[in-house]
């Protein structure tokens, strides 16, 4: 893995997402801005030169708002970005903060009309007495301009904080999930949405779990999954009923009683769920592990990988400094053979499902000079300590990699480390995977 680029943004990155071709990479930040990167086409002169990602467009997606009725401030932080499958020359993406989802159109303009009869080049109206002949305006090339405009605003549908959005494979609908409800929208209709999941109890005293993530199946437009703070996954079929409160499948692993502690419930809360590209498997991330589930087996995951089990004895400290509430994301590679997730100290981990090998890498300025090859890192948990190992106590818990994304086809990964975006590429193994 070598570093292709690193970009420093002005605010903490809160979401990272490749589009379906991998040509575009969008990041959202805490300040409500979206930055889109585009991959440069690989130069024909230098076939070995990897296409780099450069800034394509930047725009302010959400602004801070104030709910006067509830005296609550609504953060402008972008929680999720999801690209729509491309259907014409323009690109569309959905971005959401805690309350409002917006559909943005990203289009290019590289020509402009010149030669108007009634206005001059600056757009000022001409004095009609100076017009002696008529001309037909012609399109002339201009510097590429990327225009972003909000096409739809889907608001006022969520009482609680929106944590996920997911575009359906039918390309017409999408869903948005908050802590207690999931709503289904049509992309063209903003004034109503359908509630498809509602786990709010009649008496809030009885609340025991919340929805933490939700995603549509990659090609079955009737299926979606949502995860809960109790560590369960529910697969729902929209054909079964209008309200999918009753799940079709419930994926849950019984708790290991030997690991019981004050914080068992917190660390079992699922922070992210992703369908595999094949649609056969689910990937979940809880505080200490990533798990792969087979849709056909509900009683336990088929694979469990320890991300940073050395933190298990430090849960109390992590509770005190709030790190135990960090929500890490997870990602599949294009062939579903490798899974990736972030950790602390700017480490991120990759697990090869076939070889069962795993690697820990670090996203940092030092290791990320262009073309620099990443060196595997190791956290030493006592016992033999090798050179360059990091001990658990010297981990920097303020440097956390919560958001990662994997290119849909190639071995290119985008890692968000606080306000820095790192892009790594693995050219050597790209044929292997």
């Amino acid at each position: 893995m070598s570093c292709v680029g690193s970009i420093s943004l002005s605010d903490i990155i809160s979401t990272v997402e490749f589009n379906q071709t991998g040509e575009l990479l969008a990041t959202g930040d805490k300040g409500g801005r979206v930055v889109i990167f585009q991959r440069e086409p690989e130069s024909k002169n230098e076939p070995n030169c990897q296409g780099e990602y450069n800034v394509y467009s930047t725009f302010q997606s959400h602004e801070p708002e104030f709910d006067y009725l509830k005296s609550l401030e609504i953060e402008e932080k972008i929680n999720k970005i999801r690209w729509l499958p491309q259907q014409n020359a323009a690109h569309f993406l959905l971005s959401t903060n805690d309350k409002t989802i917006k559909l943005w159109k990203v289009s290019e303009r590289d020509k402009r009309p010149e030669g108007y009869n009634l206005k001059d080049e600056e757009g000022r109206l001409k004095d009609l007495s100076t017009v002696t002949s008529l001309q037909v305006p012609v399109l002339k090339p201009m510097d590429l301009m990327v225009e972003v405009s909000p096409r739809r605003i889907f608001a006022n549908a969520h009482t609680y904080h929106v944590n996920s959005i997911s575009v359906n494979s039918d390309c017409e609908t999408y869903m948005s999930a908050d802590d207690l409800r999931i709503n289904l929208w049509h992309l063209a209709i903003t004034d109503r949405s359908f509630n498809i999941v509602d786990i709010k109890p009649a008496n809030m005293e009885d609340l025991t779990e919340v929805i933490t993530a939700a995603e549509f199946h990659p090609y079955h437009c009737n299926l979606f999954v949502y995860s809960s703070s109790k560590g369960t996954l529910r697969l729902c079929d929209m054909r079964a009923s209008a309200l999918c409160d009753k799940h079709s499948k419930l994926f849950e692993e019984p708790e290991d009683p030997s690991n019981r502690s004050f914080f068992s419930e917190i660390i079992s809360s699922i922070s992210d769920v992703k369908f595999s590209h094949s649609g056969r498997y689910l990937l979940t991330r809880d505080y200490l592990t990533v798990k792969v589930w087979d849709l056909n087996m509900e009683n336990k995951p088929i694979e469990t990988y320890q991300v940073h089990d050395y933190l298990r004895s430090k849960l109390c400290s992590l509770y005190e400094n709030d790190c135990i509430f960090d929500k890490f994301e997870c990602a599949w590679n294009g062939t579903d053979s490798v899974i990736m997730t972030g950790a602390y100290n700017n480490f991120f981990r990759m697990f090869d499902r076939n070889t069962k090998r795993d690697v820990t890498l670090e996203a940092s300025r030092e290791s990320s000079k262009p073309r620099a090859v990443l060196k595997p890192r190791r956290v030493c948990t006592g016992g033999k300590r090798r050179k360059d190992d990091i001990s658990v106590d010297s981990l920097d818990f303020t440097k956390k990699i919560l958001h990662t994304a994997w290119h849909p086809a190639e071995n290119i990964i985008a890692i968000a480390a606080t306000n820095n975006l790192y892009i790594f590429q693995d050219k050597v193994n790209s044929e292997v995977h």
Binding site: K70, E73, H161, N163, N203, F262, F325
Partner: protein
């Protein structure tokens, strides 16, 4: 013992988190607060199981036979919100009459006996409208809170008939008094219930280690739906005064529990007075918000 200390520490940390979540930008995060409340519940269970083991034997000696003043009623642990608001006086009264000590020697009601005995119990006929409220606290009436506390109900199912009655409007927190492991959902229930009321509704402050003067949540479904995590001050007040002695890091006699109540009956009264003394800072804190 180690577990107790650890549990105590975790409880205070959890309360701090809930408290701080009120001032967080973006509003209270339901998920995080739910997780924190689960931790709080677990820690409390561990702590109280140690606590009750210590005072269990002495509690029986502290029960005194006191007739229930007429008109005074105690609330009981009920699950229905709206109906309770109106039925309270009657239901509670009957509960008082019929309740028997299910757990002999339950120390908390015993302590409460003394707590409520100390101030003059007031019989408010208009019970639904009278509440120990943050508003009262805001008015700086520490007396009011104490009075409310005196009136605060004790869990009916763990009460003895000899316990002086408390104002019916105060709902008890059942799990607090239970000797054995409380039902998992009850603390959470109370927590969530406390989080429900909006600024316009009254909230109650707890007054003794065991009484949870709780305000009934507003009827669900009237008008625009609230994000039901808004009012945490009442939650803190419950835990605050419940554990006010326990959470005070510097107070030497901070634990109104086992050690004090063991020697002899009067110490129970001392405990309660200490607890009551410690209520004031929490009331003040609540007033500030």
């Amino acid at each position: 013992m180690e577990f107790k200390v650890e549990a105590h520490r975790i409880m205070s940390i959890s309360l701090g988190k809930i408290y701080n979540s009120r001032v967080q930008r973006g509003g209270i995060k339901l998920h995080k607060n739910l997780l924190v409340s689960l931790v709080l519940r677990s820690a409390r269970q561990v702590y109280l199981s140690d606590y009750y083991q210590g005072v269990c034997l002495n509690a029986q000696t502290m029960d005194t036979a006191q007739p229930w003043p007429p008109g005074e009623t105690m609330d009981s642990e009920l699950d229905e919100n709206d109906s309770r608001e109106h039925e309270l006086p009657h239901e509670v009264g009957s509960d008082v009459r019929t309740s028997t000590p299910e757990r002999p020697g339950s120390p908390v009601p015993a302590l409460l006996n003394d707590a409520v005995a100390a101030p003059q119990p007031v019989a408010p006929p208009q019970l639904p409208s009278r509440r120990c409220s943050n508003a009262a606290a805001r008015e700086g009436e520490a007396n009011a809170t104490r009075e409310c506390g005196a009136l605060g109900g004790v869990e009916s199912d763990s009460d003895t008939p000899s316990n002086p009655p408390a104002a019916s409007f105060c709902r008890k927190r059942r799990s607090c008094e239970k000797m054995t492991t409380p039902p998992p959902e009850s603390p959470l229930k109370k927590i969530k219930q406390q989080q429900q009321p909006t600024a316009t509704t009254n909230t109650t402050t707890t007054t003794t280690t065991t009484t949870a003067a709780q305000e009934l949540p507003p009827p669900v479904g009237d008008g625009e739906e609230e994000m039901d995590t808004s009012n945490v001050s009442s939650l803190i007040s419950i835990f605050g005064s419940s554990f006010s002695g326990l959470l005070g890091k510097e107070s030497p006699a901070s634990e109104p529990g086992a050690e004090d109540s063991e020697p002899d009956p009067p110490s129970g009264q001392i405990c309660c007075e200490q607890v009551l003394k410690n209520i004031a800072p929490w009331s003040t804190a609540i007033v500030a918000f």
